[in-house]
């Protein structure tokens, strides 16, 4: 058990190195710093001096992997790879285009992201499971058939429409909550209601339908027949037997996204002007601020790997077959 967890933690290291290599290749090999400089400064009539200056300002003037001009260990350390990629492991991300420290920015933006993502996750999970359980309970009736059609219709609508439609209906037409923005403290609630609802609605179709399938799959198993042969009521069979077994795939499926809740939701945050990591990322992409994008790729991967670890752990909690082996 312990050894297993240690193994999984150790496995994260080569994966993070791999992530680093991919980002490094994307950001510095496919396009050299010269290309980037040219793009930032405009392609027309750009002088070599301007490019060098741009690179120098951002520390992109060093060789990629091996510095022949340096001496000793600096041959390795005084390179773009070492300075840009290896530094990420210390969560040292350098500065953004506007000169602000990225790590600080990230720390400040984690909380709003989390405040939005956590209710979406929890309430969404409860809503989806309840709805799926209801469909499974009334399986092979019209309620089930139309419930599935409803789910499929819900998942056929782009998130963008949910956001735009929700903003229009709730904020503009009915004037219930502010259309966008954010405030610290308890005031944040007013701003969060709408994005939370929209977050739940947009994830509803896919998850509810998946959970229904999981429930039905469990219900076709032999032990359910045994439970019924004991004379247990349908309700007891559903909650004591089916739900408990189906929770294993459901929980382990959602645990992987738990750490990523800090990462926030890209689209929702930027639409609603919530100063979280999602909108930070979108802004960086739109401003083509590579340093920030690179930092966010790294953070995202770390959170995902934490999610994988949490999944492994959650198995041991919910499934006795794993716990005792």
């Amino acid at each position: 058990m312990f050894a297993y967890i240690v193994r999984r933690v150790l496995y994260a290291i080569p994966i993070l190195i791999g992530v680093n290599l991919i980002t490094f290749t994307l950001f510095f090999v496919v396009n050299t710093p010269d290309d980037m400089a040219r793009m930032h400064l405009g392609t027309k009539r750009v002088t070599a001096e301007a490019i060098s200056k741009w690179k120098l300002e951002r520390g992109y003037d060093k060789p990629l992997l091996w510095n022949t001009t340096a001496t000793g260990s600096a041959k390795l350390t005084s390179t773009i790879f070492f300075e840009r990629s290896m530094r990420l492991f210390r969560f040292d991300f350098g500065a953004a285009e506007d000169g602000r420290d990225i790590a600080r920015e990230i720390r400040g933006r984690m909380l709003p992201s989390f405040a939005l993502a956590l209710p979406v996750f929890l309430v969404g999970l409860a809503v989806n499971i309840s709805f799926a359980l209801m469909l499974a309970f009334f399986r092979a009736t019209y309620l089930d058939t139309w419930g599935v059609v409803f789910c499929v219709a819900m998942m056929s609508v782009s998130t963008l429409f949910y956001i735009i439609g929700g903003q229009y209906l709730i904020s503009k037409l009915w004037h219930l909550v502010p259309i966008s923005g954010y405030a610290r403290g308890p005031d944040a609630l007013r701003f969060l209601v709408l994005p939370v609802i929209i977050g739940i609605v947009s994830g509803f179709g896919t998850s509810a339908r998946l959970y229904r399938t999981l429930f039905l799959e469990e219900m076709s198993k032999d032990y359910v027949r045994t439970a019924k042969a004991k004379g247990l009521a349908e309700r007891v069979v559903m909650f004591r037997h089916v739900l408990r077994n189906a929770m294993i795939p459901i929980l382990t499926g959602v645990v992987v996204v738990l750490p990523a809740l800090f990462f926030g939701s890209l689209i929702t945050e930027s639409f609603f002007g919530i100063p979280g990591l999602g909108s930070y990322t979108i802004d960086a992409i739109q401003a083509q601020d590579f340093a920030v994008v690179r930092a966010m790729v790294f953070i995202g991967s770390v959170l995902y790997i934490l999610g994988l670890l949490a999944t492994d752990l959650s198995y041991t909690l919910v499934d006795p077959r794993v716990r005792f082996q």
Partner: protein, 455 residues
Amino acid sequence: MPLLPVFLPTDVLLWLLVIAAVGYGIYCARRPHLAQPWSRVFRSPGAVVAGVLLGCYLLIGLADSLHFRARLEQASASGQAAYAPEVLSLLDVALARLRAGTERSYSAPLATRAFVREMVEQPDGTTRRGFPRLRQGGAHLEDESQWTEDIARRALLGLACGAALWLLLLWSIRPLMRRAPAVPWRAGLITVGVLLALSGPVVVLAGGYHVLGTDKVGQDVLLLSLKSVRTSLVIGTLTTLVILPFGITFGVVAGYFRGWVDDVIQYVYTTLNSIPGVLLIAAAVLMMQVYVDSHPDLFPTAAQRADLRLLFLCIILGVTSWTGLTRLLRGETLKLAELEYVQAAHAFGVSHGRVLSRHLVPNLMHIVVISVAIDFSTLVLTEAVLSYIGVGVDPTTVSFGTMINGARLEMSREPIVWWSLSAAFVFMFTLVLSANLLADAVRDAFDPRVRIGVA
């Protein structure tokens, strides 16, 4: 030659895919065990309705994938034929009227006057602010009081044409209906009927009006909606062309050989998976943009540049999303490789290559078919999000994403401009819903687990 065909890469690939699909269809039809699940698919009314709708989208998309440059009237000095720089598609020709009739700015559906106030020159030579008549919408009307009558007349005419076409279709497929009574023809015919009843009036009305209005720069919204279809189809299908080779090869090889091969493949896909999808795509697209911008000489025309960007987007989407299929296939291969018919093949000393190609891959194809069907709608939805963030298709390429992106501030206008967004919503929702319904039917027909419940 009056036309110079232009073979855009995505056109070529899309048509190749169509040919391949037709070939696969013929291959399946000759093998009862492959034809059987497909015939099960089309016994479900939902799948037939979805199939008809997707067929219409496909026709639109394919008509928009035959590109050419028209020959210019005046011969060039050297005597060689000169061709227009603009690359047109068959669909563009069919919609020439919509393309030509751009307005100055917004106009509501079927409107005769502009939506925004402008300085209008009065008959007496003075100018004052008002809603000017449109250049095309309702321009044929001498008096705007005839509007109602004209609309009704055109709608009825369209409806009549639609009904006539529908009856013609009904008459021509009668022998087919007798041959395959299990197919829910009624559902299909009702769908076609509804489509004709809608499109008949639209076609006739489009001759004189902007049926779905115009957008900020005065482009016909109907035209934009129809042109978006091709982009969605390209993204939804060509991406799978990239996913399939990666997904199948890595999944099957990892599951069959196991050991270090499996370790390496698992490492690669865990690594790729751990980077948040949108970020990886965004990073790759940003880098591609830098590359394209710094090598302008490689892409002569705007259309080619836009098309290449579309193709790159497909490739990037494919490279970042093959991991799901690989994981599925790896798991299934692990199970299949233990089956007795595979062991029997080993007992005959059959080579690894033949075991893979004869025993494993054919028995995994149902998973591939199901995942292609499900991926399609996911990809169409992803395109919209990516284009909204600004890392999707080229801004000059018409797509649902760019339509939504362009229209997102219109909801806050007073009075609101609802038509572009609504048009994008209806067209996109219908496409994705059809794809989802078809994917559902395909999964029900191909997944053996679903059928166990009956036995």
